[in-house]
């Protein structure tokens, strides 16, 4: 099944889709990466982060600053953002992971905002609110951008799947279900939570670095945005399905298409957040485990896996 989907996705640019359709597909794949990364930390490890924009933005700024300060291709940002974000999430995790539940949510939310305000104020380093612009785009065609993000997405998907099915994944779920019980069973909760955060952060950061290359322009209000990045990430996973492999992908397809569709309706252009909000409320009340999670057959499979 995954190979069939991968083959279809790999053949997609050959069907001669318009540039706009390719743009949407690229956005869907990029958001799936961020969603899957969030899902590892939020869905499996149970640490609901409201600040994934921090990792996304640090990744994007790593690529951008490499370009402006070191004058090398921002594509180096995709691999190089991984150690940078790993270090960053390690330090951040040291502070925020000692908190639980709502406190963790608040602290992560604050961390995203701190990064935004810091990036706005460190004008010499980040360019402040002017942002960073890449003068020459690598390709005009979208095909290569698509293959690069598809590669990142494939790696993310396999990594999350392998992790979730390994011993580590069971540790994560144990921490989600009951942290004290996990601790008393001899699981080093701090270590594994940090691990989950670092992996999740790195994947998000890689997506951020790709965003810098693809869009060619970033500023603090774009990449460190609370609603446009952090909350959308949560929505993607909530709509698709928490702690499912395909949930974030389904969620990304729905969210990106929904956003584009609402934007295209005349007179409703600015209202997409109202629809997002209502969708989120409906999903939480009626489908708390998302579209994939409450899909009866998959739910049974999930239960078998957990048992």
């Amino acid at each position: 099944m995954p190979f069939v989907i991968l083959a279809i996705l790999a053949a997609l640019p050959l069907t001669g889709l318009s540039s706009y359709a390719m743009h949407l597909v690229i956005l869907v794949v990029m958001w799936s990466v961020v969603g899957m990364a969030w899902n590892l930390l939020g869905g499996y490890c149970g640490q609901v982060s409201f600040g994934h924009a921090a990792y996304f933005g640090v990744g994007a700024y790593t690529a951008g600053i490499l370009y402006t300060k070191m004058a090398i291709s921002p594509w180096w940002g995709v691999p190089l953002s991984i150690p940078v974000v790993a270090l960053f999430s390690f330090f951040l995790g040291y502070i925020v992971l000692r908190l639980r539940g709502p406190f963790f949510a608040l602290a992560t939310l604050a961390s995203g905002e701190v990064m935004r305000v810091t990036a706005e104020n460190l004008v010499d380093f980040t360019g402040g609110t002017l942002g960073i612009m890449i003068q020459e785009r690598t390709w005009v065609e979208k095909t290569w951008y698509y293959y690069i993000i598809l590669l990142v997405a494939t790696v993310t998907f396999v990594l999350v799947k392998k992790l979730a099915e390994s011993k580590l994944g069971y540790y994560f779920v144990a921490i989600r279900e009951d942290q004290d019980a996990a601790e008393s069973m001899g699981i080093n909760t701090t270590l594994y939570k940090t691990l989950a955060l670092c992996i999740s952060g790195c994947l998000t950061g890689a997506a951020g670095a790709f965003y810098m290359n693809y869009m060619g322009y970033i500023d603090p209000n774009v990449v460190f945005a609370l609603h446009d990045i952090s909350i959308i990430t949560i929505m993607i996973v909530m709509v698709g399905g928490v702690a499912t492999y395909w949930g974030p992908v389904v969620g990304a397809v729905i969210m990106v298409l929904l956003a584009e569709w609402i934007r295209s309706i005349p007179g409703l252009g600015t209202a997409h957040y109202t629809f997002f909000g209502i969708l989120l409320i409906i999903i939480i009340i009626f489908l708390p485990n998302g579209i994939v999670g409450d899909f009866p057959k998959l739910k049974r499979l999930l239960k078998l896996q957990k048992a």
């Binding site: 602290a107 209202a271 997409h272 989120l280 939480i284």
Partner: protein
């Protein structure tokens, strides 16, 4: 320090305390909801934004002073809060899901709808209420001719501060002297025990959410004459509210008041001595430092002192 420097410092402290009074009111609503419901209300700032728009339109259409709008906007917000709790949050408390944070994410959704609707109906223009007394101020030298330093006290800021203090005292009376208030506090302490004592917890939760919304609505009206208004203003005040709540202690009213004052003074100091743009960073540095070094909040320091430990 020269007298000019002392003047700047004192002036900064005064504006910090005045700002802190309003912050305390915003934080009180949040801390009340957090104490009773055990959830963070991430739509808190958006509720305040709605109240500010009510007060704004009352002023523009009917020339009602924003300070009088407190008595209109706060009940409206109370009602809105009751509705949100009854029809949106209570159903979610019943559904089973993997993540317990569902209710928090739900409030995010509510906040998104509110701020987006405000953008649609009122556009994203910055607005301010042109009240006649907006720039009035009292000067120290008017009262004490030979004063070595010059301090000023902005009239709208001071009036807002006084209003905030009055509302806070009224809330304290309500929570400690009335039956409903006591029931709310009992629900916050131990819902099951309160239930056994015959407290209608469901009703208390509804009232609490309404009360929290009403408080932040009142804070919005008080803030209107001294601030400007735009639909996206909510997020920033939600953040302020929870920084205050963490600074104080969760669910502690006294903590929220102290937290609000500390944050107001600290922000004012950062703005004066480091730079305007850094004030929000100062806010969060303080927040994180508080989480790491003082997890019980400022209130835990007080308790230590009381027991002499």
């Amino acid at each position: 320090m020269t007298s000019a420097q002392i003047e700047v410092l004192l002036q900064t402290l005064i504006s910090g305390i005045l700002l802190g009074g309003l912050y305390a009111l915003i934080g009180l609503g949040m801390t009340l909801i957090m104490g009773v419901m055990k959830i963070i209300n991430l739509a808190h700032g958006e509720l305040m934004m709605v109240a500010m728009y009510i007060a704004y339109w009352m002023f523009v259409l009917f020339h009602v002073d924003p300070y009088l709008s407190v008595f209109i906007a706060a009940p409206v917000m109370f009602f809105l809060g009751v509705m949100i709790q009854k029809f949106l949050i209570n159903p979610v408390l019943r559904v089973e899901s993997i993540l317990p944070e569902n209710q928090v994410i739900l409030t995010v959704g509510i906040g998104m709808v509110l701020s987006n609707l405000a953008t649609m109906f009122f556009t994203s223009d910055y607005r301010s209420t042109p009240v006649g007394y907006a720039t009035d101020a009292l000067y120290l030298s008017d009262y004490w001719k030979s004063s070595p330093i010059e301090l000023s006290l902005s009239v709208p800021w001071s009036v807002s501060f006084v209003f905030a203090v009055i509302i806070t005292i009224a809330l304290w009376f309500f929570l400690s002297k009335t039956d409903t208030g006591k029931s709310i506090r009992a629900t916050a302490q131990d819902p099951e025990a309160a239930l056994l004592m015959g407290v209608n917890i469901k009703l208390m939760r509804v009232i609490t959410f309404g009360l929290g919304s009403g408080l932040v609505g009142a804070a919005g009206c008080l803030l209107l004459p001294i601030y400007y208004l735009f639909p996206a203003l909510g997020g920033q005040f939600t953040l302020i509210a929870f920084v205050i709540t963490i600074l104080g202690r969760l669910g502690s009213a006294m903590g929220a008041i102290i937290g609000g004052l500390v944050l107001g003074v600290f922000e004012s100091l950062t703005a004066t001595y480091i730079g305007m743009g850094w004030a929000p960073v100062g806010r969060f540095v303080m927040f994180i430092a508080c989480l790491v070094f003082l997890p019980g909040g400022v209130a835990s320091l007080l308790r230590k002192k009381r027991f002499g430990a």
